[in-house]
Symmetry: C2
């Protein structure tokens, strides 16, 4: 493996511009993109990683398997609609689903901070067990580390997952085609707003709940119905906008969407205005975008609308013929606007 | 999955005895054992997890795959003989090797602390790339999170790994048989002492280097030579002693070892005496114990001795006919001593 030794040992991010890691480097925006593109991809280069998808797909004796990982550092640990444990299961289940895979096995790595209440730990372990049961996955291997007080924040959880591909088709940004219809599986912004409301001590008429949920059953339904799915992406850090920009960049295609087709619940919209957030960039934990062949769009939308949380699923845009890697949005007032990555994340430690 | 909802929601560890998580809960000793046995295994129960091995083995279309994870929280980040990046690759490669698997694909999850120097991050990414190249594994998927300053310690790394089993035989504590010969792949204690020397500012005539190294090639050689291997275990947190106690407990067998057959380098022994450590409990990152059928022990030992770092490999004991789950050691002065788990770890955050 020559690549291991042949890359330049000088740090590829100019030290005078970015001498240290900042919170924005973890926000799913352009700074994080730079870190991944300039440092991580060149150092670890291989074709599977270069796909830049939610997980890697590899071949095992003719059976395609998906493999993915995520660490969870959300603050607070418990929030309306879930906790870090629910997220750690559903998040990794969803990354496998976005590869078109049926999730099978999960690993769990706990990093506990000295002083964490044993009852909190137990509550979160129970949430993970319940979430794993609901998603039909088994937690088969794990690791527990404890760090000194003041060197963590209660607990961090990493999960990795392995799944079996449920389709022969390649589902990835590279498979996006001109003409693809972009479907959104529900309304956006709930997770980020639920977390921010707790952090800022905001109260609303009814509590805004995170949308945290497993998505694999809906994805498997799309595949079983023979929908020609080209790309799937769950809309976590950086929200819908960042996900679309990443797909446009990786696929080198122009994406056009229509703002008024993107459902945002009234209370979520109100909270976003109060907090100065753009709901398009707010993280979700139970929503995804699907790029499907135009002839299958109506059937796919019907499936999405029948899924839990999918009442507001909608056709939000398409991939154009123009080979320009950018996202254009027709705003509610009819203006055409370029959607770009934020430099960081509006909401640090949202997942 | 009924188990998800049927376990008792009351915390199984008595809150009045252990209201909070302590550093010792992550030390690989009896407190950590309690956490795993009372909380994690019952909540996540399934047959693969119940094996309590370094990784889980699952069947994929007739091909057996191994899956494992570890988080790395070692302090300091860089030490003689390696850094957290080298460890994060080799540690997971070794856990796969201990299942009898050829390591193939790794995931990487970074948890970076705001303020980490970009150059340090780059150095560690380079170490990972080099270590992955040497071990012949590909890093195919990953995740990066950033936490606020004061909520981490520079960086933590989780890696998970997938490998393909290189044998039809089940290699696990459950496969241990009376009469098995226990081989040790080299001298012990280097990694823990190297770390402690840096932390305590100790200097020796020559610098004690961590033994951090990938072990899969040696394991694959044993398997290719047709050695009847029953169990393998790398001797990380808790060292040789804890690994043997865990295997005795899981296999419900008596293990007998001979202290004078366990090689400890003079400088390591001296440092242990100075620091009040027992080298049998000190972590290693490039040593393992192999339980092999008696008729194959000599051939296996020859293979171990020819491997890098294996000059001091030795036959250190055997599994007796007595179905008692404990470890007995004939000490250097001839006394018989019961080896038990420490409550925590002599050296917190050693890996």
């Amino acid at each position: 493996m020559d690549n291991a030794l042949s890359f330049n040992l000088q740090c590829p991010i100019p030290i005078r511009d970015y001498p240290i890691v900042t919170l924005a480097h973890g926000g799913g925006g352009s700074l994080m993109g730079g870190l991944i593109e300039k440092m991580i991809l060149p150092a670890f280069q291989n074709p599977l990683l270069a796909e830049r998808h939610d997980g890697a797909v590899f071949d095992s004796h003719g059976r395609k398997m998906a493999f993915t990982t995520d660490s969870y550092v959300v603050r607070p640990l418990v929030f309306p609609g879930g906790d870090i444990g629910t997220m750690a299961i559903n998040g990794t289940v969803n990354d496998l689903a976005m590869c078109g895979a049926k999730p099978l096995y999960l690993s769990v790595g706990f990093i506990l901070e000295e002083g964490l209440s044993m009852e909190t730990l137990w509550k979160i372990i129970c949430s993970m067990s319940i979430a794993a049961g609901k998603a039909g996955v088994q937690i088969v291997t794990g690791d527990t580390k404890v760090v000194d007080k003041g060197k963590g924040d209660g607990l961090y959880i990493n999960t990795a997952g392995v799944g079996a591909l449920a389709t022969e088709r390649t589902i990835s940004p590279a498979a996006v085609c001109p003409g693809d219809v972009i479907l959104l599986s529900g309304d956006v912004g709930r997770h980020g707003v639920a977390i921010m409301a707790v952090r800022e001590g905001l109260t609303f008429e009814t509590t805004i709940q995170s949308d945290c949920a497993p998505l694999h059953e809906t994805v498997l339904e799309l595949l079983q119905a023979g929908i020609e799915v080209h790309c799937l992406r769950d809309l976590t850090r950086g929200g819908l906008a960042s996900a679309l920009v990443e797909i446009a960049n990786t696929s080198r295609k122009e994406i056009r969407i229509d703002e008024k087709s993107v459902a945002v619940e009234d209370q979520v919209q109100g909270a976003c205005e109060l907090l100065g957030l753009d709901p398009l960039y707010v993280a979700n934990e139970g929503r995804f975008a699907a790029f499907v062949a135009p002839q299958d769009a109506d059937r796919a939308l019907n499936i999405l609308r029948k899924a839990p949380g999918g009442e507001k699923a909608a056709r939000i845009g398409h991939v154009s013929e123009i080979p320009q890697p950018h996202v254009l949005m027709t705003s509610c007032i009819g203006a055409l606007r370029v959607i770009d990555l934020l430099s960081g994340e509006q909401l640090p430690r949202i997942c």
